[in-house]
Amino acid sequence: MTELLTGLLQETVSGIALGCIYALIALGFTLIIKATEVVNFAQGELMMVGAYVNFFFVTTFLSNQGEPTIGIYLLAFGSSIIFAVAFGWILDWVINRPLKDEPIFSVIMATISLSIILRALVGMIAGPLSLVPYSPFGNKILSVGGIVISVLDLSIIFSAIILVILFYYFFNQTKWGVAMQATSEDSVAAQLMGIPVKRVYGLVWIFSAIVATISGILLAPRMSLLDTSMGFLGLKAFPAAVLGGFGSITGAIAGGIIMGVIETISMGTLSFHFEWIKEMNDIIVWIVLIAVLMVKPDGLFGEAKVKKV
């Protein structure tokens, strides 16, 4: 019995770590949705770009000194963030601005093609071979009462929580946060309030690129080998973002963690005791998602749109 419990506990902890990865990606989706109602299909690719850029900086700063030091990691991290800012800004220019007055769907399609372009471009620049990413945490492990967690996972959980708190505060407590929401609802009226709509759009794309880069940097070592297919993780984080409620910051982390825990437990204890679950452990999250949406069509934390006739 205790064995079952510790097993479940261990899986929950691993699930939370996995869930925080989904949460980070979902947070990226959420930011853009909140201000523009656009679902960014290239979110996973932004993350992949972040991971590659960070790898590039680490190797550049390293220049044959063997194992990188903390200083090098920090330097590379900082440079990657600066890159993310520039990258987000460029994306706003190439995607969002030309399509500002076009239907949301054009923008969504543009993000789909962007994802194709980014995967190809990174592949061409970095070459087809996968890379062995660096990690400042190595394979270090923490163990508390028989429950183990890697330091890397801990850092992921930690960053997810910090980022969620930051953005939650930003969106609910600051003028700019509310302005972003207003912009997504009616950009024309927002302009009439003096809200600099273009800057708002630019800002969310930059935020989203930063979040993506941070998650890419943290995630790459966990993926063991870095290649462009990392971008497809974006699709895996979709159900998490939707479960929490598109456009809800708390929803992003809640959805992510729920999905992560369900995934690990269903692949672990559940399938250990029920053989047939093995056959379908990848669809359990989808079944849960559909079931939840049937009851709460706007996700756990999403709110139904008001419409008065």
Binding site: E3, E11, G123, S224, F232, T264
Partner: protein, 366 residues
């Protein structure tokens, strides 16, 4: 003469995954093949004809593979297809092969179904590698021979690859009267905490990982993190030496099956390979088992073309390949083809990682 054959060239078609999940192999395999073709071409070609290979992309989508094959056959008029990667893309080509009579040499998949002679177009497909089912069977036998009380577990990719592996597992189970613990994962999975925990719970001492490159690394790292230390084994796609590089200390002792000699061994092909790599300036990071795999299958194809003679036709190529009898190319174990058997090699060697280096630890096992 036959399509794809001119005065001075033989045109062959290759369909790889250049933009999908396996695009790394899409870069390595053709490069390895071209290394050998260039060598042959420099030395006068095959009966005076230069070999030219066109590579198309299918991004691991069977439908695209069919389109690519149609293009190669109808538009580019290739003589034969060679080294198409992936089980379902290869399977999807059967109708076209049957319709057009174009042979497919050395499909780059170790699925046992490729050499099933009852299937459509089987007479046109010449498989080289030992199938997954056999590999798994051999692995299980080997584990049991070392430790009769071993509790075996297997982590498999839940698709056609895994299905092939499970086929072998079932046979081995029946033979040895044991039961193997099965853990599935989905293509593209990046987290194996659940599966590893289950293996641990099941008291498994020997784990076979039927993954590709990333999965064994993550599984072994996860196991280390959970304080779980069984013996790890892998099927042939895990024979790449970068697994041990990326897994670091977690990958120590990892044993994989190989259907050909190691690329850095002193097998004749390997020696030639390293020499040619040197000459062509192939970067060190490309060299490895996958690159070498492209090289040695090219040897099989060239031998077949040689035997086809001065006036090649597709039928003649098929007939020529069926004359292979214990042919030793220098890396593969001896290959025999005849009308009822297009399976190619049937045996494997085991390779173990010690101190981060792959070492052969067995003879050819049938």
């Amino acid at each position: 003469s036959s399509p794809g054959i001119t005065e001075d060239t033989i045109l062959i078609g290759n369909i790889q995954d250049l933009s999908g999940p396996m695009k790394e192999l899409g870069a390595l395999l053709p490069s390895g093949s071209n290394l050998y073709f260039d060598y042959v071409n420099e030395n006068g070609g095959v009966h005076g004809r230069q070999i030219k290979m066109i590579v198309e992309d299918h991004s691991y989508n069977p439908q695209k593979a069919v389109a690519a094959a149609k293009k190669l056959i109808e538009k580019d008029q290739v003589f034969c297809l060679y080294h198409v990667i992936g089980t379902s893309p290869c399977e999807a080509l059967r109708p076209i092969l049957a319709e057009s009579g174009v042979p497919l040499i050395a499909p780059a998949t170790q699925s046992g179904s490729m050499s099933d002679m009852s299937r459509q177009a089987a007479d046109l497909i010449f498989h080289t590698d030992t199938g997954y089912d056999k590999q798994t069977r051999i692995l299980v036998d080997n584990i049991l021979s070392k430790n009769a009380n071993a509790k075996i577990g297997i982590i498999y990719q839940d698709d056609d690859y895994g299905e092939n592996v499970l086929k072998g597992t079932a046979i081995a189970e029946e033979k040895a009267g044991i039961s193997v613990q099965r853990e599935a994962y989905q293509r593209g999975a990046t987290d194996f905490a659940g599966q590893v925990a289950n293996l641990m719970k099941g008291g498994v001492t020997d784990v076979i990982i039927a993954g590709i490159v990333k999965e064994p690394i993550i599984v072994m790292k996860t196991a280390v993190a959970m304080g779980y230390a069984p013996n790890f084994y892998g099927t042939s796609p895990t024979m790449d030496h970068r697994i041990s590089l990326a897994a670091g200390s977690a990958g120590e002792g990892f044993t994989s099956v190989n259907f050909a000699s190691l690329w850095n061994s002193d097998a004749p092909s390997a020696l030639l390979y390293n020499e040619l790599c040197e000459k062509a300036g192939i970067p060190a990071k490309m060299k490895g088992m996958y690159h070498f795999y492209g090289f040695i299958t090219a040897q099989v194809l060239v031998e077949g073309l040689e035997r086809t003679g001065k006036f090649p036709t597709r039928t003649r190529l098929v007939n020529a390949l069926e004359t292979f009898k214990n042919w030793d190319g220098g890396a593969f174990p001896p290959i025999t083809y005849n009308q009822n058997d297009h399976a190619g090699t049937e045996s494997v060697i085991l390779v173990q990682v010690t101190d981060g280096v792959q070492n052969v630890i067995s003879d050819w096992i049938e």
